[in-house]
Subunit: 455 residues, 2 copies
């Protein structure tokens, strides 16, 4: 019998994260200050004071590999190494000569890849004497992951959760509370940023940008014991996520194939970057010049395929520093597609930089065909993918069908970031024909881009 | 570093199920007919016609081991072998010298142990020309598992889901539909049994007994292409679940310890029997005379600790044959505790027989301390257990504390049957102090026991 599942023992788990910064063929544009008085000047440590020193050091580290602390490794062992599967049943259903492998991060207690960086961040903050973290969360993937991590290391956590999700999706909030975190709907009356939004619109549904602003403000106004923690976009987050790709390298070697195509979905981009960065160094070094890396966005928020490459804020309230990225504008509020984790206005600077350098490709997809792909996956491989991950499944299926047409037995590696246990209402809408699709909101993007900082 | 997780490769997965029937120290009381005209006479094949021949053969098999068909093994590989963990963090929090291991079945696509028998039953039915299965489900664990299995083997499935759960817990229904099954609320107008209940009470919330009656009737009235599939209680189901214990034997050996105590929750009893049957043969053979096996029930439906050992029906509508078991009476409707999977009036005959022989112990627990134990587990090991599994966690914690008092470093093995992703509303009730507890409903049991068949 062919092997379905490629497992790694704990002793086989990589003990280092991979940092691509020193391997980039051109340097990453530096962050700039976002404050009115210093707008566009190089960001200073003061601009980044909401991160703890080790995290800040990792954000700009020149080291190619960073040792994973033993305590973090021990935490990883609660669910890592994660399994890689050969999707025999999906291949058969598609009648494709392609070999499809998927790396599944849904076995973590929080059900996604997010704990990979959450436990690292909680560990470093705890070690450096921080007592409390703040963060934002959209649908709750990141908030629940950080709640899990703060539980492991004994840190307090306050999560600002986008109000519409707080009300409509109580399950991830309850997960956070079960792990001991405090979760409030954002905009909240607890911060100046929140109060300002509520003054203008008491019924504001909130947005990720607003929630980031609240969480950052909370950390900045409690400098003695509190730091801010971010779940994607930042360089150090992508580095922590490379445990996915480093494990996958070993697993693909055990499988006996090197991927021709790697596919993943991108919101901030950390899951997919965590997967492909350890592979793309082989493309940069010309060892694997033909490797294709395809990042998949929702049609409702396609920063890479339709946004300009420009300096922008990470949050609506303009409290963060500026990073250069493909952006739809920091005031942009995407249509309410079900893939809550892909509804961010920008993308990770490293990811955008590689896109600008032509090292990765991007696609945008509508949600109805995405859910069709998710159901196809559930009805072959058994796992019901998160709507975010289903975006990647859609493109994997397209590529596998292309292989059928061309007769090529390519090896496709799918980054399956999490399960859809808390997104079943969306699957129900799809199955009952009630799911709506959303066009690219060109006018709203145009409006938002007018607010790009002039740097 | 000590190993947290004990994994098995696919090639290490046992290829046989263990059948305890030939090893029982006294024979299992046989099933009896439940029809009015033949009541109490030995059951005939006609009484069991809703099972397909191979399943029926396995129900009474004299073979100690039954080969797992290659197709079933391949299906198992989608999530098996399942991991075993050392609960270091829980041990530390309890400051106990006990070694706590847990075998986690929550990594299956359906999130519980149920697919272990579902895929076997779907496979045999498909192989024997059956086109369609029927079943009942309470909270949806079993229905979703069988939906997954029928998807794998291309069978139609109709699930009769207890109406109160159908309305209150839509997520598992959506899982079933995502995998392609049809799910209706029971009592339904689709069967005579359902119509009879609706005629008496159009607002009946339904019960597992009623739903079983509907599913059995559906199979019996479509004899050409349809069979009934049961998710617990029956001998063949327990046998299919022994893959859990057979894997655990290997994993405990890798860990270097043999368990002193094995703990699991029991609804019908198949998960826990699947775990302990491969171990208890060592107790029967006197190889491990001191092994303790503790089955944990809810205080709201404690068949083992408070029900008589008597012949009874499996369903409210009296369509099944009679089995000898500890029962609270087939018309008993338990209080609405959140552990939906433990709200059955009886228990597996094999389990009850072993209990009568003094080979296993039983405990009943209130749900508030059970949820406290579930939260303790979530806040140490990270996994949020299903409320059913949290019953077992409660007793494991009690035993670990007893070890602390006695200073004994016992090895405790916990059967953790599934995750609580679809039970978070119950956790929320517990965390907010809204959760109610239920006394043992002695009067209702007395009433129900008056309806035991007179055999």
């Amino acid at each position: 019998m062919e092997i379905t599942k490629i497992l790694l023992e704990e002793k086989e788990m990589p003990t280092k994260w991979y940092n691509i910064l020193p391997d980039l063929p051109a340097p990453l544009p530096p962050p700039l200050s976002g404050h009115t008085e210093t707008l566009g000047k190089p960001a200073t440590p003061a601009d980044l004071a909401f991160f703890t020193p080790t995290i800040l050091g990792q954000e700009f580290s020149p080291e190619r590999y960073v040792e994973i602390p033993e305590e973090v490794q021990r935490a990883y062992f609660l669910w890592r190494p994660t399994p890689m599967y050969r999707a025999y049943r999906l291949e058969k259903a598609l009648d494709t000569p392609a070999r499809i492998y998927y790396k599944y991060e849904g076995t973590s207690p929080a059900g996604s890849h997010k704990p990979n960086t959450a436990v690292a961040q909680a560990y470093y903050n705890k070690k450096e004497g921080i007592k409390r973290l703040t963060t934002e969360t959209g649908a709750g993937q990141w908030g629940s992951a950080l709640a899990f991590a703060c539980m492991l290391f004994g840190l307090e956590l306050k999560v600002y959760m986008v109000k519409v999700s707080y009300n409509q999706k109580p399950y991830r909030r309850i997960m956070m509370e079960t792990w001991g975190a405090k979760c409030v709907p954002s905009p909240s009356p607890d911060t100046k940023a929140g109060r300002a939004v509520l003054a203008k619109d008491p019924n504001s549904p909130g947005s990720l940008g607003i929630a980031i602003g609240e969480a950052v403000e909370d950390a900045l106004t409690h400098p003695d014991d509190t730091k801010y923690s971010i779940g994607s976009v930042a360089n150090h987050v992508l580095m922590h996520q490379t445990i996915i790709g480093e494990e996958s390298l070993i697993q693909m070697e055990k499988a006996g194939y090197y991927p021709d195509i790697i596919v993943g979905c991108i919101g901030g981009g950390s899951n997919f970057a965590g997967m492909f960065l350890p592979f793309i160094r082989d493309k940069i070094s010309k060892k694997k010049p033909n490797l294709r890396v395809i990042a998949v966005e929702p049609q409702a928020a396609p920063s890479l395929t339709k946004g300009p490459y420009a300096y922008d804020y990470g949050d609506e309230a303009e409290l963060t520093f500026l990073v250069k990225m493909n952006t739809l504008g920091h005031t942009f509020v995407p249509p309410p597609v079900h893939a809550g984790g892909l509804r961010y206005h920008g993308k990770a600077p490293i990811l955008c930089h590689l896109y600008q350098l032509g090292l990765i490709e991007a696609r945008d997809e509508y949600q109805i065909p995405v859910f069709a792909a998710g159901v196809k996956f559930a009805r072959t491989e058994g796992i019901i993918p998160a709507p975010e991950a289903a975006h990647a499944v859609k493109v994997v299926i397209d590529e596998a069908i292309a292989c059928k047409k061309s007769g090529q037995a390519k090896t496709i590696l799918l980054a399956l970031s999490g399960h859809g246990h808390f997104d079943l209402a969306a699957y129900s809408d799809y199955l009952s024909g009630k799911l709506e699709d959303y066009e690219y909101p060109a006018e709203k993007v145009k409006e938002a881009l007018a607010f790009l900082p002039k740097v």
